[in-house]
């Protein structure tokens, strides 16, 4: 029974990871990453590592995708914000690369 569950979740993890790689849009990738975190948490649970599963669930499927989404939002907004998005005098505010996928 446990072997079947481990096999199924392994397939789930492989599928989700492949989907994360094949997706080119960072927003979709973040969502797929969240699903991958969930699948990994299930796998760790079935492999009798509930401590790791808890960490994976919290960090992998909640905090990391959220941080990616917020970063994508900031990076995408900047160039279109003020014309060409030239920062004046800032040290790290060069023209940020606009994501061409969208």
């Amino acid at each position: 029974m446990t072997d079947v569950l481990i096999g199924v979740t392994l397939l789930l993890v492989a599928g989700a990871a492949t989907a994360a790689v094949l997706n080119r849009d960072p927003v979709r990738q973040a969502l797929v990453l969240s699903f991958l975190g969930l699948a990994l948490a299930l796998l760790f649970t079935f492999l009798q590592a509930p401590d790791v599963a808890l960490s994976q669930l919290a960090v992998g499927s909640a905090v990391t995708p959220l941080m990616i989404l917020l970063t994508v939002r900031t990076v995408r907004r900047r160039p279109g914000d003020g014309g060409d998005g030239r920062g004046t005098g800032g040290s790290d505010t060069g023209p940020r690369p606009r994501d061409r996928e969208r």
């Binding site: 509930p50 401590d51 599963a53 808890l54 960490s55 919290a58 960090v59 909640a62 905090v63 959220l66 941080m67 917020l70 970063t71 939002r73 900031t74 907004r77 900047r78 914000d81 003020g82 014309g83 060409d84 998005g85 030239r86 920062g87 004046t88 005098g89 800032g90 040290s91 790290d92 505010t93």
Partner: protein, 274 residues
């Protein structure tokens, strides 16, 4: 150093690592065998110190020094993110407009928030008995707080989240861990040794220093994640570059974003809240 020299140095290091790693792998007990030498020793040590969760015993008792290093890595990482994401001189804050939230989303988030927060605190407190501990519970509690961002909007989250307090909390968690270690030295034992009374097996007060270190890590991780997400949210929601022509780099004295934004800048609400 030339490219060829670098490659040579890398190959020497890689070859030495490969040889040592292979030798080490042959010294390991075979995978999935009947006999688990490390497991048996770890469980015996955990039971000897009245810690029901053997993983917590390994993390916070047998290898507490190792965990101190991991905690410090997180502390340094959050510190680095705070420095990188701080408000620069040519950026300004605009308070985000109130967001419209669908009632079902609001109800669900408000219902889940206290439950998730309680689960986080439970996981921290029961780290020595059941799976989990300071790190896991800390992340769950910190994430739970952000359900308010879903339920209401960013202003509501900022109101219940005095950021300065969480920054102090992060440092205090790290500090408490080190102090617990030195307390053991003062008690006449080694750094981070388990010197507290061990308590009754599988109760909330069992495990000696395990529960203290769990609490310290819980405070540090929860505060650290809150601070980290706050900086990311600040960048995504509040801090904007000035429009071109508005005189970039104005108000250079307002560069420190440690205080909560009170929106003293003229609030041109040019962005949608979520």
């Amino acid at each position: 150093m030339s490219a060829r020299g670098r490659l040579g140095l890398f190959l020497v290091g890689a070859a030495a690592f490969a040889a040592l790693f292979t030798a080490a792998c042959f010294g390991l007990p075979s995978f999935g065998a009947e006999h688990h030498p490390y497991g048996e020793r770890a469980v015996r040590a955990a039971l000897g110190h009245h810690t029901a969760n053997a993983i917590a015993s390994v993390n916070f008792d047998l290898r507490a020094f190792d965990t101190l290093g991991e905690e410090s890595i997180l502390f340094a990482a959050v510190l680095g993110a705070v420095v990188l994401l701080r408000q620069t001189a040519d950026e300004r804050r605009t308070p985000p407009a109130p967001a419209a939230v669908h009632p079902p989303v609001r109800r669900f988030a408000l219902l889940t928030l206290p439950v998730a927060l309680l689960i986080g605190l439970y996981v921290i407190a029961h780290g020595q008995i059941s799976p989990g501990g300071g790190f896991q519970g800390g992340v769950v509690a910190a994430t739970a707080l952000h359900l308010l961002y879903l339920a209401a909007d960013y202003r509501a989250l900022e109101r219940i989240r005095p950021l300065a307090l969480y920054e102090i909390g992060e440092a205090a968690g790290e500090f408490a861990y080190v102090v617990t270690g030195f307390a053991a030295v003062l008690a006449g034992s080694a750094f981070l040794a388990n010197v507290l009374p061990l308590g009754t097996f599988a109760t909330l007060s069992s495990g000696g220093t395990v529960i203290v270190l769990n609490a310290a890590v819980g405070v540090e991780v929860a505060s650290g994640v809150v601070v980290l997400l706050a900086r990311f949210l600040d960048q995504a929601v509040e801090i904007v570059l000035p429009d071109d022509g508005a005189g970039g780099g104005r108000d250079p004295g307002d560069d420190n974003s440690d205080d909560n934004s009170d929106g003293t800048d003229d609030g041109t609400d040019e962005e949608e809240p979520t």
